[in-house]
Assembly symmetry: C3
Homo-oligomer: 456 residues x 3
């Protein structure tokens, strides 16, 4: 993204700072396996990127035609060069979108490809990417180093063995890769398969989870293990920010009903709302930063979910509410200055109305960066515009790349640094801050806020 001269100057002072990646979805196997093979350009750039295939799907291109496997055994297209051509022919769909921009930057900055992707260039670009992916200098660990990543957090289920993380630590390779404790599968009692997940949690902890107290013990035990493996944070998904403080007796009763499969939807909401408060309690005790992402209706497209399963681009935001919903949790733990709760929203109307005022008051609260659909040039601009005056920069935590697409990480951070420079330059130009403030803010946006916010 091109910048004004003033913004460009601010950006250049921070463009080469190391990357802090405190929240993302990179598969740790990439970095655990020194001989990791990338596969084709489609394996790297298309199939794992639901931003890419949701747009193609929205224009009527069936998912199997771009390599997405169906549950029902429909074979996906296996000719990846053909898929790549199909994508290239339709690349105009990404005009003006962040995906179009990221992939262009990624091709240029990681793979050295500056030609525009379209039907004519598709084969040449496919060959160039393929050649690079086969080159040992493009192995994940070499890219990690070249990208200047200081720390990379993955996201891991509560019952995960963290075997790859163990392998990375034992390999002698110097890259810092840390897990993040994400207990959704064992906390969201109303999801299909919850009891299987509880069984897995029992198994991995050696604690037979037959009641609420043991359930809490098992969770605490896993948090301790994650922390020992380098984790600095937990991550929680919820349909809403609803929280409620239950007594231990109430929580036990609901937990028993959940185990027996007799919990009503209303009770499930109360229980998960209570578990958010419990997670905050554990964070006060063990110091892990607590991340809370709310407001996405998962698997909105029922027929597509039936055929293709989760994460095929049909998670759709809905209205969010924080002021009333978070009050029980905040009244219990929000005044703890050492607790860090980081909030994410998909409902931008909550930026100025709820989140900025809450973060600008409660010591425990900080705001995460613009999330998901809003992780874009305009989305970042709206975030700076609507959040910062009330929350204050120092109640935010810099940037998350939040991606499973490892080679796109530098492009994402670079966009954030440019968007940050654009915002700070605007303040400087209007005389709202001076040059000293601007320089300090840029360093914090690019580096310091993420490091401190996540206690890294």
């Amino acid at each position: 993204m091109e910048l004004s001269p003033l913004a460009a100057e601010l950006y250049h002072a921070v463009r080469a700072l190391p990357l802090i990646c405190p929240h993302g979805h990179v598969n740790p196997r990439l970095l655990a396996d020194p001989a990791y093979a990338w596969g084709t350009p489609v394996d790297v750039l298309i199939i794992p990127d639901h931003y890419v295939f949701r747009m193609l799907y929205s224009q009527g291109i069936p998912l199997p035609e771009i390599g997405i496997p169906a549950r029902d055994g429909t074979p996906p297209e296996r000719d990846h060069r053909l898929i790549w051509r199909r994508v290239a022919e339709n690349w105009y769909l990404f005009r003006g979108t962040p995906t179009g921009y990221w992939i262009r930057r990624e091709l240029a900055d990681v793979f050295g490809i500056t030609e525009k992707l379209d039907a004519r260039s598709a084969d040449r670009i496919y060959d160039q990417i393929s050649a690079a992916l086969a080159d040992p200098r493009f192995s994940p660990r070499r890219l990690f180093e070249r990208f200047n990543i200081e720390v990379l957090a993955t996201t891991d289920a509560a019952a995960d063995s963290l075997r790859e993380h163990q392998q990375i630590r034992e390999s002698g390779w110097g890259g810092r890769v840390v897990p993040t404790f994400r207990p959704d599968k064992v906390v969201l009692v109303d999801r299909a398969g919850w009891r299987d997940e509880i069984a897995a949690l029992s198994s991995v902890t050696g604690i037979s989870i037959t009641n609420y107290r043991r359930y809490i013990q098992a969770l605490e035990s896993r948090r301790a293990f994650f922390k020992q493996m380098g984790a600095v944070a937990t991550d929680h998904d919820a349909a809403t920010a609803y929280t409620e403080v239950l007594s231990e007796g109430q929580a036990s009763t609901l937990f028993d009903r959940a185990l027996r499969g007799t919990l009503s939807p209303a009770e499930a909401q109360r229980f998960t709302g209570h578990m958010l408060v419990e997670m905050a309690r554990m964070s006060v005790e063990d110091g892990l930063v607590m991340q809370l992402h709310v407001g996405s209706v998962r698997n909105h497209n029922g027929p597509l979910f039936e055929r293709f399963g989760r994460d095929v681009g049909a998670d759709i935001p809905a209205q969010a509410e924080f002021t009333h919903n978070l009050r029980p949790l905040l009244n219990r733990f929000g005044n703890q200055p050492d607790l860090h709760i980081i909030l994410f929203t998909l409902d931008e109307s909550t930026y100025s109305r709820e989140l900025a005022p809450l973060a600008g008051h409660y010591p425990a609260l900080r705001l995460g960066p613009p999330w998901w659909f809003h992780d874009s040039p305009n989305g970042m601009r709206r975030y700076f515009d609507q959040v910062m005056e009330t929350a204050g920069l120092y109640n935010t935590v810099g940037f998350n790349d939040d991606t499973r697409a490892f080679p796109s990480i530098p492009a994402r951070h670079d966009l954030w640094r440019r968007a940050s420079a654009d915002w700070v330059a605007g303040l400087l130009q209007r005389g709202l801050i001076d040059a000293e403030d601007a320089a300090a803010m840029m360093h914090d946006l690019a580096y310091g806020l993420a490091k401190r916010g996540y206690k890294l």
Copy 2:
């Protein structure tokens, strides 16, 4: 609207493209009657334009004083020159509003009047407009040609005879004017007069609507007739986007209750929600594009409605919700790539939160242009800003003028083309797209998207 040099260049490349007018409220009589007489400047510019008189009313000017007739027999002011003077004296109220801008452009571009409207110029301008309106070169058909309208869709009730459309087709005149099927009066069961409308529908179709099945047959029959008369689309108004799939038995039961006048408000909502799904089903079958406009509380001002009836400017938006409400419909028909459902909202908080993610996923969904109050320089800018990154340009459908004020059509399209150029120039300047993309996007915004989106 003045543009930067870069935007002006983009605008000039499309400014003279034909106008696609796929959604509007022009009275087809204007074009059916070769000898149509416009009346006075007040008849043309003030009385049919609720944007104009709502603002004057909001500042305490009684509606009869500007020519709006009351139901109770209060005679409206009949001296149109006097009304024009009154409007001109108060024209400062429109400073910075889109109405002020449109009417200024309309006076300049259609009538050649560049003098500013105020108390001093009122009479001169009145005389100039009056003279033009009497000139055969200003007849609706001549203006249609001069405006370079490629196609104009009107909006017509389900039971409408489409007589004027028939007259236009039989007249030998070459202008393409097509009807749009708007069945609200026979679908919104809770509106006063619904049973009379059903009687009218029975009468016009020759199908005695005594049960649900015949009701559906009658609707299908009218859709076929509209399609035969050139219609490409249907249009649906609803208080909310609530949808629900009822079984035929359930729908029949509710329909019977509606005929007997014993439907509860909750049942009425379920029935109308079901009918939206039925309309989507019919669109899958007959190929008509389905437009859905939601979120306006009609006739909010009870006392004014009592005195003046519908459409006196008291339709006020309320919160809208699409993610949950549209899910039943979308799970039934949203994955049909040949179905086009075009959504409109008055609640801009749904742009980035709900509509763009939905349209960026479901093959059947497209977003309509900024609607009604948002059909303005800033409204368009916010739409581009909040919709495009996530939905993608190609899940939108260009522009609708949505007006009953025929002579204002070019000014409205021109504003859209300028606002589009402003947005595209911003992308180009920031290096987010290149010049080739920019040119293609401009053509699509001005022409191609509307044509393809409405299957024209």
Copy 3:
């Protein structure tokens, strides 16, 4: 805030106009007592400013350490120089915030201090402010004159004696200071202490409030007294904009229950909703302008409220709804052109969706300026952007400083005048208005709208 040359020119034409301050929270004692002593810089700039201390608190600084007294007897820090140093060391937290900007302007324009506030300059600046505060030229009355305040409205409880206002009037000093009738304490029946407030109201009016009719008489009597003391407006806080028209019998029944302490929360909402309608009725009769501020959840932070009481920065906005909620009131009184109801919101999503359309239709409605958290450079820009096209400038009322920090008044008005110039310059530059319009709009934004909107 620095402006473009065009905006600067527009700003300079109005920068020296007198200040109209129709809504604020200055303590009238400042102006009643000719020998009023300011205290320390911390007494003037920190302790009364919840914008300042909420931000410091959000970063973990305990309130007593910056001088805020607790209810539980915890002694606050008494060394104000030490507090000032603490604030100065943390002043970087206000980078890019309106508080940072206001205080910088206030130091420069009122106290002549242009040095940047930080740890190094803290003592020097403390001494400079202290010296100024002790100087008779800095007494509140002298500042009032120097600030060129034409009129200043305070906010006063219904049972307030208005003694200070009486003293100001009797003192022979020429400054115009008027009270505002704020009956929340006697209207919000569900607040703790309501019956005590009713007793106080009985006492001050001499009307023994034993039933609803006497309650209404007492309120009318106080309104008459306030009006006689110069009041031009009333001010109402409510959690929501809910209104309902009750019969006198229904209202009496609920009032009796409230007196007996047996009112349910739902009944309390109905009663307060009815009282808003009653207040509009009284405004029609006595001509007082009615201000309505809704959408703040007061004392959100329970533990902090327990320790420190009201107004410690824990009032958090929540979703607001006006379209449905205000309909009963507007259907009763919204068509009265002499009634002025001024609405304020903390939920910006209501600007374009509800408030602008409502104000652009109902003669009685006008929109207040951006309120509280939105009283900032970006907040003002969003307000102009989202409100003006639909509401029209002449359905708004200019600016309110809404502050208890008397010396900050000029900085706040100055920011509004600059932000206004920035908006008007944008319209002028885009050719949406001409220079004549621009000049008139600037004068109205800076002066005329507030004066006419508040009938001053």
